[in-house]
């Protein structure tokens, strides 16, 4: 028993050293490189988000939204919370958006944004939409 006790200190010292070394080495090794595709989807999402935000800048859109009782900041927050894949669903509309899209089209687009965020429980504007989470 006495013999084992005398070992424990040196064994634990070695073990501690191994732990420290392995964790130090493991941090860079366990992380992986970020793929080009990941960065691209992120950037595409940023561009789409900006396009949506840009539509919000139009005066006629602002006033229509206000008359519907929807705050501008609220829309902004929703847009910010959309994921890249959700944004990609709007791609068709977004591609056509900057050139001559009417107010109605833009408002419908924003309503879609609200419906999607409603489904994700981020908002609760339409009572008939059930949260999926």
């Amino acid at each position: 028993m006495q013999a084992i006790r005398s070992y424990t200190q040196s064994v634990s010292a070695i073990m501690a050293l191994v732990m420290v070394l392995s964790s130090m080495w493991a941090i860079p090794a366990s992380a992986n490189i970020v793929g080009t595709g990941e960065l691209l989807t992120e950037q595409r999402a940023d561009v789409d988000r900006e396009a949506l935000m840009g539509m919000l800048e139009r005066e006629d859109v602002k006033s229509t939204l206000a008359s519907m009782g929807v705050g501008e900041q609220e829309v902004r927050d929703r847009i910010q919370s959309l994921t890249p894949s959700e944004l990609a669903d709007f791609q068709q509309q977004l591609a056509e958006a900057p050139t001559g899209e009417g107010v109605v089209g833009i408002i419908v687009l924003f309503l879609l944004v609200f419906i999607i965020t409603d489904m994700l429980c981020a908002t609760d504007i339409f009572p008939f939409i059930n949260c999926i989470r």
Binding site: A31, I33, V34, Q43
Partner: protein
């Protein structure tokens, strides 16, 4: 024909075996595109507008289009290559089937093309930019080459993109990642370094730089770069919430 225009030696027979599905009497869009990539070509999806097609044709790039010659409910899909445009008579010149200079009025073309949601692709050597190239779309096309193991083609596409749009971080990251995947750590390090210098707010650059350094056994420096990656991430999150 699309391939021959870019000086790729491909015989019709060789291609038929790659894209033709006998039971469907034709080829699928996916296969047309995949076959071009197998020859190391970059496939660029055009904006679904006639103007984009005309612009490419004017630049001397033939455009692959998909037409539906019949109706939506009873489709007859057909691939053709737009090679020219007669602006006076408003007539498109197509390579359609085995006919080399098939003249089709724009109105008729639009009717058949609309039913394919105006599907159009340009197939070019990867170092060459389409006339209507958009940075992100082009980079995504280059990334398609990367994922299909066309490393050399992907590299020249990324290089062309980095030159044409120096403000696109993905081009640099792509070059670094290609070198990394091939095990050229120090070359990857160089690209990542250049990227972090230009785009210090993008954490991916720092993160991958750390990886390339640790592969070369420079653990201490690698650790420092990981910290920078964290910092960059925090910075960009802060920007997003503002």
């Amino acid at each position: 024909m699309m391939l021959n225009a870019q000086d790729v030696a491909a015989t019709p027979d060789e291609l038929v075996s790659k894209v033709y599905l006998p039971e469907r009497k034709g080829a699928l869009q996916v296969e047309m595109v995949a076959a071009a990539r197998q020859y190391g070509m970059l496939v660029y999806p055009l904006a679904p507008e006639l103007e984009a097609v005309l612009q490419e044709v004017r630049a001397g790039h033939p455009v692959l289009v998909l037409q539906n010659l019949r109706f939506g409910w009873w489709p007859q899909w057909h691939f053709a290559v737009v090679t020219g445009y007669d602006s006076k008579k408003e007539v498109l010149i197509l390579h359609s089937g085995t006919e080399e200079n098939y003249r089709l009025p724009v109105r008729a073309f639009m009717a058949t093309w609309k039913r394919s949601e105006q599907w159009a692709r340009v197939i070019l050597p990867p170092g060459q930019l389409p006339a209507t190239a958009e940075p992100l779309t082009f980079l995504m096309a280059a990334h398609d080459l990367e994922t299909t193991q066309q490393t050399r083609a992907a590299k020249s596409a990324y290089k062309a993109a980095a030159e044409a749009w120096p403000d696109q971080p993905a081009a640099m990251l792509g070059l670094g990642n290609l070198a990394y995947q091939q095990g050229h750590w120090s070359e990857a390090e160089e690209y990542y370094r250049a990227m972090t210098k230009r785009f210090p707010d993008i954490s991916a650059g720092w993160n991958n730089l750390a990886e390339a350094l640790s592969k070369q056994g420079k653990d201490e420096e690698s650790f420092a770069m990981l910290n920078k990656a964290q910092e960059a991430k925090k910075r960009s999150q802060k920007q997003g919430s503002d």
